[in-house]
Symmetry: C2
Subunit: 195 residues, 2 copies
DNA sequence: CGGTACTTTCACAAATTTGTGAAGTTAAGG
DNA sequence: CCTTAACTTCACAAATTTGTGAAAGTACCG
């Protein structure tokens, strides 16, 4: 853990400001170590909340990249994980609609992209999850008997989730308005492939 | 559901523990197998959503019990798990405020209880979780630079969670109203100790 | 004070999950 | 076609998690 110490300045560290802040395609004062610290810290929170480790790390790496998109190789290098691990993580994230895959026409490599205007929609849109919960609960009410105390308790739980599902849709609608207000409607442009 | 006047069940519960009797408090039409099927099915959903197995099973067992409360022995017997497993699960659930522990004055055994009006408040009230996420994100904005594309993306994520936190409070307020409308204000009485 | 009835803690074996190297697959460019 | 770059799948070793029996701890009751 201690590790790092003073040491190993990456070539990046050499890059002083003297090199004119202009050609900053690759981010100006981007300290890889700071980025890594954030990635690991936020990913840990996601893991604690139930997400698998690799998907959490890959996702956070994408989230904290300037372009919002990285190749498999970049992800592997930054996170120090094998291509296999990247592949697995990315498959999971795609299934959850948290990242999308892009094929670059000229190249053989894929890019994985997080759309900042879509990823938490995917998270809150855990429609499928809620629906499965509700199915299980409905069945429970039947099996326990709607007129028993237990059945009533389950029915109330079911009603709560049904209520929740409706509320979430409205809530996201409100968020979109507030988001536009805070950041502007065109904010999402950063997340699109470069034009 | 109002109390018409036939408080028969109250006497039933008062049954003193005689030697031979196991907890034969099961309701009449209650098929243990059906109960078990529901418990396992719903618990699986919770596991899939990130909850540990034993807490999920214990919690669902409590949720689908008629009184909303069970002793360690009852839980162990129904779920076929050791006292140690019950202990661990219950500790977790208490920390999450999903069940509460009661000490019966006359007896040496604890009862664990789910309050149907409180457990999903605990779930939606993942205040602590949200706060930790927000902390990590705030730090990320700083480290990445608020004026970088990445920093802006993280800032937007942060804003979303802050928004969410505020919305949830109002949402639960609305739910309480709706719940009263659907089930009556006194619905929660089943979940309280008999007095 | 014990005696006793529970509950909790702890070390550990079993089961599960995780991430890797290597082989396999696909498709872009010659 | 063949080469080659990139991605995916697979078997497995390592690491982690899980649940248990047994010992230890607690607190009620006489």
């Amino acid at each position: 853990m201690t590790t790092d110490g003073a040491n190993v300045s990456e070539r990046n560290a050499d890059r002083t400001r003297s090199t004119a802040g202009t050609a900053t395609e690759t981010a100006p004062g981007r300290d890889p170590e700071a980025v890594s610290r954030f990635v690991e810290r936020f990913a840990s929170q996601l893991v604690e909340a139930g997400m698998q480790r690799m998907p959490a790390r890959v996702f956070t790496a994408l989230l904290s990249s300037d372009t919002g998109a990285m190749t498999s190789a970049e992800l592997g290098e930054q996170l120090r994980i094998s291509p296999a691990a990247v592949s697995g993580a990315v498959r999971y994230l795609s299934q959850q609609h948290m990242v999308s895959r892009e094929r670059e026409p000229g190249s053989r490599r894929d890019r994985y992209r997080v759309h900042s205007d879509q990823w938490y929609e995917a998270v809150t849109n855990r429609d499928a999850v809620l629906r499965r919960w509700e199915d299980a609960l409905r069945e429970g009410v039947q099996q326990l008997g709607a007129d028993t105390p237990a059945g009533r308790r389950i029915a109330e739980t079911l009603a709560f989730f049904e209520f929740l599902q409706g509320e979430i849709a409205q809530l996201m609608e409100r968020w979109r308005a507030r988001r536009a207000e805070l950041f502007g409607e065109d904010r999402a442009r950063d997340d699109r492939p470069k034009g």
